[in-house]
């Protein structure tokens, strides 16, 4: 392959401080998305900084998951989807014709609502993405897999049964395995689509701790229905309503002092 189409997002010389000041990592401009005749997203514009956790909130069907899936082009899998506007990551429009979707998805990982480990061993689940992208040597794989399982706070629970089926894990463990699998290929951004919605409170709090931990290394965008969760883990919150971005700002502001009436009604539980 020639030069990667999306250049490495963090340029070597920049320190964390200057990176914050530079152009935003994700920049969505006037993005609209149509499923056939219906418009699911209307003129969304949004700028997300590096190493920040952003929560997308809003009632069901408001388009927050759809927008999330725009960022790694998972919507490509659906027929009849038409997208207008631009979504830039690291300054490059990911809907440009010459963008390599494989390369994009390598850099923009995803964790799904329903934990979906492969019906393979715990080890093979994490190894899958690594092997896809060319890591073959067992010693490298072993080291990276341990690193990722530690990072996703799963190592101590599974280190003695790495080669047994991932389907034998509990729901919360499975979801943390999916996170380990996503971070194994070192993406810059992790998209999370209601990652804790199917988990019990204890498993949820573990996943939330994990997200706060991962913030050090990754830019995270999380869709959630759980208002408390958004308040606990995110730095910024975007509130969507029927395909529109109603309000976007610091999480503390959205939850305590929103400018829009609709946001206030939603976060205080008056509808949604």
């Amino acid at each position: 392959m020639a030069e990667p189409l999306i250049p490495k997002l963090t340029t070597p010389a920049t320190s964390a401080a200057t990176a914050k000041a530079s152009a935003p990592l994700i920049e969505i401009n006037n993005l609209s998305l149509h499923y056939g005749a219906s418009k699911a997203l209307k003129d969304i514009s949004l700028k997300l900084e590096e190493k920040v956790v952003t929560a997308f909130i809003g009632p069901s069907g408001c388009g927050k998951s759809t927008l999330l899936r725009c960022l790694n082009r998972m919507n490509d899998l659906i027929d009849n989807v038409r997208i207008e506007g631009t979504a830039k990551i690291g300054g490059h429009d990911i809907y440009d014709r010459d963008v390599d979707v494989i390369e994009l998805r390598k850099r923009v990982g995803m964790v799904f609502q329903k934990s979906n480990p492969f019906p393979k061993s715990i080890y093979e689940n994490v190894a899958y993405g690594l092997r896809l992208h060319g890591m073959k040597a067992k010693s490298n794989l072993d080291a990276r897999i341990e690193e990722c399982l530690r990072a996703s706070a799963l190592w101590d629970e599974v280190k003695d049964r790495l080669h047994s089926s991932a389907l034998g894990l509990s729901g919360g463990q499975q979801q943390r395995l999916c996170i380990a699998r996503a971070i194994a290929i070192k993406p810059e951004i992790i998209l999370m689509d209601e990652p804790a919605s199917a988990l019990d409170p204890i498993a949820t709090s573990r996943v939330e701790d994990l997200i706060l931990d991962l913030k050090k290394d990754f830019t995270i965008v999380i869709v959630t229905h759980n208002m408390q969760q958004a308040a606990r883990i995110s730095d910024q919150t975007a509130f969507f309503y029927i395909g529109e971005l109603v309000e976007f700002g610091a999480t503390s502001k959205i939850f305590t002092n929103p400018t829009q009436k609709r946001t206030e009604d939603y976060v205080t539980g008056r509808f949604g």
């Binding site: 790694n72 998972m74 494989i102 329903k114 019906p119 093979e124 899958y128 993405g129 699998r181």
Partner: protein, 325 residues
Amino acid sequence: MNTLTPPEYLPEPRTETRHFRAEKFDFWSFFFSGLTGLATLFILGILATILLNILVNGWSAISWHFVSTIPKKDFFDANTTGVLPMIVGTAFRVIVMTIFVIPVGVITAIYLTEYAANTSLITRIIRAAVNNLAGVPSIVFGLFGLGFFINFVGKNLDALLHNSSAVWGQPALIWASLTLAVMTLPVVIVATEESLKAIPPGLREASLALGATKLETILKIVLPQALPGIMTGGILAVSRAAGEVAPILFTGVAYYMASLPAHLSDQFMDLGYHIFVLSTQSPNIEQTRPILYATVLVLLMLTFALNIVAILIRARVRKKLRALG
């Protein structure tokens, strides 16, 4: 100790007893459940009668000599005849068919479920064609095999390779197997499609989201999961094909051969066809009857054995998938 008295707002406990049992005997309910039971019993009865009849009458005529002998031209004599070439021929044609039908059927099913747009006209036409293929009478497949494989493909191969002397342009094991493969294609396609559809979309998404290509996803995630279902399709195809006679009638089966088939361009003897021959061509029906029964039993056992092998392999695959993957 205080005694707990129920608060006043609670309703009084019910005093009268309620009857849930129906007062009347429900005739239609009884009649219908009886009817379904009888229908099932009827089917089981027929199956048991056929199998017992064959087993009882056929078993005594089966011997090691019978299954291991290549018979002389007069194979109606119960004392000297054997069915080795028919066993070999039937097994061969089924195995060769499987080798062709599984890849073609699986690849077609992958195209239909993974690549083709579900609602497009082409997909609908292909689906309709597959379904119609399943409804074509087997003798028509036989004629198709004769016309297409032997007279077209075979004759042209001979013209190209053998200076027009008849090597491929005549009935042969390969053409009979290919004809059977065309006939059983819908079985494999439908079974594979079902097993592909049963794989949760979340697994495909997870793979794609990790930067896998569609091909990598199909090869590494989808197909291993679909393997048991594909094998079910194979088992059904084998069961269907093993007993079929009509498709091989013009395409490869021989009335008599002095030796076993050794080459794909050879003709072969076949259990099903041999049963037809024994029951229609015998000069002495009474004398032939035991070997007719025995041949039928051998065909049943061969089909059963081929199925058992496939089922055992499938069970291993399933176990492996469940344990690890």
